[in-house]
């Protein structure tokens, strides 16, 4: 009996120690990998509320697929009418600047655009371009602040700080605090802080659904701007694991044909 207790205690100590021995970076990597898909297609609705509660609605269809070291994403705006037909192609590289092209039906031209503005708002919402792609994990320093319960989930509370001012400018925040579920490694809440260290935005992520490949996909994201009272909600109407589109479809020439 004594032996049994010792073994159980040893196992518990080992498990606890191994949990705490995970660095903040490892936890963040796990969390990121947990929601990274090699290919997928979505149809989403973006609701943008201003401070007075007035709403604007955007609809976008996206397809994303990894080819070698680059993840290629194509987005097509389907509503409202004034942006319908606009298409964007992004080549998301791990360790170098993305390549981006845009096609606007009105000018009938596929145009290469500057890709470095990750901090720029996405379609006039509180989401940023950075929210639309996987961040470069090497751009940040990571620190475990504490353990905290968020919506009945025991979470790691991790502070993620931009490594330098250039990166701060690129992403549009100085640091973020991230709540990652200790069991599933899914991120449920992010607080973004501005360059003065003041709370700027709170992003909440909900409705994770486990997909056939074992990864999770969030069907609901909300970002509230605590400084101006605006908020934006992104909800996924349709999701498809994998993409039937071949590499030809992820080329600039195809943007005008979508």
């Amino acid at each position: 009996m004594k032996k049994k207790i010792i073994i159980t205690a040893a196992v518990l100590i080992f498990l606890t120690a191994s949990a705490y021995s995970q660095t903040a970076r490892e936890i963040s990597d796990k969390s990121s990998n947990n929601i990274t898909f090699k290919s997928m297609e979505t149809a989403l609705t973006l609701k943008i509320y201003d401070a007075k509660g007035r709403i604007r609605i955007r609809q976008v269809t996206t397809a994303s697929k990894k080819f070698g070291a680059v993840t290629k994403t194509v987005m097509k705006f389907t509503a409202p009418a004034d942006v319908k037909g606009t298409a964007i192609l992004i080549y998301d590289y791990e360790n170098k600047d993305d390549a981006m092209w845009i096609y606007m039906p009105a000018i009938r031209k596929i145009r290469r655009i500057i890709s470095s503005e990750k901090s720029k708002n996405f379609m006039g919402s509180e989401f940023t371009n950075a929210d639309m792609s996987k961040p470069n994990m090497n751009d940040f320093n990571y620190k475990i602040l504490s353990s905290e319960t968020y919506k009945n989930r025991l979470c790691y509370k991790i502070e993620t700080t931009c490594k330098n001012e250039d990166i701060e400018d690129e992403y549009g925040f100085s640091k973020k605090i991230v709540w990652i579920d200790k069991t599933t490694y899914l991120c449920y809440k992010i607080e973004f802080y501005d360059f003065d260290g003041e709370l700027h935005k709170i992003q909440t992520i909900e409705q994770y659904k486990k997909q056939a490949n074992g990864k999770y996909f969030a069907f609901y994201m909300k970002t509230e701007n605590k400084q101006n009272g605006r908020q934006s909600v992104m909800s996924i109407n349709k999701f498809q694991l994998g993409s039937a589109l071949n590499e030809n479809k992820f080329t600039p020439a195809m943007l005008e044909k979508l």
Binding site: T61, A63, A81, D82, R112, I114, E117, Q240
Partner: protein, 450 residues
């Protein structure tokens, strides 16, 4: 038992293949009719547009317009139509107009595209000034808040073939000529000048235009080489006759199309947060020394830099032109002022001289080397609800200046309004000096999309 398993596996494979063979992305953007695999889409807008307040015209271009765009697709084929119904005032004259902006049929596949009909084609990677873009004519006097409204379609057969996803060749055949619209008659140059009907090439096979472009779009750089052979949509004018019957010369001019060959190249090169764009064309013409409406051969080029400063998208461009075989025109002299015949000859020579000078101004061939700079600034405010644009152009050679500010606001998702102006200034007898009384003014537009 084996048969049962075989059937189950077959059924499973069919389900898997049919699931993965479909694309949510493609289905969601086309919404096909599930029975006939056919889609039909309608969209468009209604707008009220006003451009006016110029020195010569209170109402340069004021109209209401309804635009209907429709696309009928089935499998890889489609029909596309962009129809415009317009009624209003154009340079103080009432008009109502039905325009087929674009109407064409097409076939598209991963490797090969074919389009036939009235299309608008824009080549080139620089902004506003595209020396390689010789396909599409423009109505330079259709004045609205957006320069893109000036593009006109022409009938053509257009094919694209992709050797790889990022390398494609485009071939265009234009069976007959469509000119740009340039209203010389509106310029208050001289009361004794009238403009006759434009002289266009006969609609014959030998006067058809052909163009090709080999385009490369790599992640690190995009570039193309192109060739155009045909009549330039933008033409000069010729002096048709000088009538002395009233004692003072009555000059009849006519826009006259000319043939040219153009070899072009363009590129866009992203470097960190900058994009360098460039475009150049070598224009080859013949008989330019005997015809004032034909420009000399030239090398036209544009080099531009794009960067975002404090959220302001900034595009700076240097626009240059080197005129090949350039020689100064000599002003006629009057050898014998007391001889009436000599006086008339002198006057006619002077008319030819002045008209040739004017054509050179139109072609930006006033000097052997002509230089200009452009600056474009634009920024979105209030979460993309408001956009402020400022475009400037300064011709270093001729000292002409144009400034065009514009503010666009989105009142709702469907309704937008814009307001702005166009200001032109140039030295006496410059093109901008002639144009300013017609084109320097204010514009506003209210547009509802559906």
């Amino acid at each position: 038992m084996i048969k049962k398993w075989f059937l189950l596996i077959t059924l499973f494979l069919i389900v898997i293949i049919s699931t993965y063979g479909q694309s949510l992305f493609e289905n969601n953007i086309t919404k096909p009719d599930s029975v006939k695999n056919r889609t039909i889409e309608f969209n468009g807008y209604a707008r009220a547009s006003a451009f006016g307040g110029t020195k010569l015209f209170d109402y340069s271009s004021v109209f209401g317009e309804f635009c209907l765009k429709s696309k009928l697709s089935k499998n890889r084929t489609f029909l596309y139509a962009d129809l415009r119904f317009r009624k209003g005032l154009n340079f103080d004259k009432e008009y109502s107009d039905f325009q087929l902006k674009e109407v064409y049929a097409g076939y598209q596949s991963n490797q090969f595209d074919l389009f036939l009909g009235n299309q608008i084609v824009t080549w080139g990677r620089t902004d506003g000034f595209n020396p390689t873009n010789n396909i599409t004519p423009n109505d330079y006097f259709f004045l609205t808040s957006d320069f893109d409204d000036q593009k006109l379609s022409n009938f053509m057969l257009r094919m694209k073939y992709r050797f790889t996803p990022v390398i494609e060749i485009e071939l265009i055949g234009i069976p007959f000529y469509s000119p740009s619209v340039y209203r010389y008659d509106l310029f208050n140059i001289n009361g004794n000048v009238i403009y006759d009907k434009a002289i266009l090439p006969e609609k014959t096979f030998k006067n058809a235009s052909a163009a090709t472009r080999l385009n490369f779009e790599f992640p690190k750089i995009g570039f193309s080489v192109s060739y155009f052979r045909g009549y330039n949509p933008f033409s000069g004018f010729n002096v048709q006759s000088i009538d002395w019957s009233t004692g003072t010369p009555l000059i009849t001019n006519a826009a006259t199309a000319y043939l040219k060959n153009t070899g072009g190249l363009d590129f866009a090169l992203p470097i960190n947060s900058w994009i360098i764009r460039g475009e150049a064309a070598y224009n080859i013409t013949e008989n330019y020394d005997r015809n004032m409406y034909i420009p000399n051969p030239d090398i036209s080029y544009v080099i531009g830099l794009e960067h975002c400063f404090l959220g302001i998208t900034t595009i700076f461009q240097y626009v240059g032109k080197y005129t090949v075989d350039f020689s100064e025109l000599s002003e006629p002299v009057l050898p014998n002022p007391s001889n009436t015949a000599a006086q008339m000859q002198y006057a006619e020579n002077m008319i030819i001289y002045k008209s040739s000078i004017f054509n050179r101004k139109m072609f930006y061939q006033q000097e052997e080397t002509n230089r200009a700079v452009t600056l474009s600034l634009n920024k979105d405010f209030f979460y993309d609800k408001c956009k402020i644009e400022l475009s400037g152009y300064y011709n270093i050679t001729s000292e002409e200046l144009m400034i065009r500010p514009k503010i666009t606001g989105k009142i709702t998702d469907m309704l937008s309004a814009s307001i702005g102006g166009s200001y032109m200034k140039g030295p006496k007898n410059s093109i901008f000096n002639y144009s300013a009384p017609v084109l320097s003014g204010f514009f506003t537009e209210l547009k509802a999309n559906f």
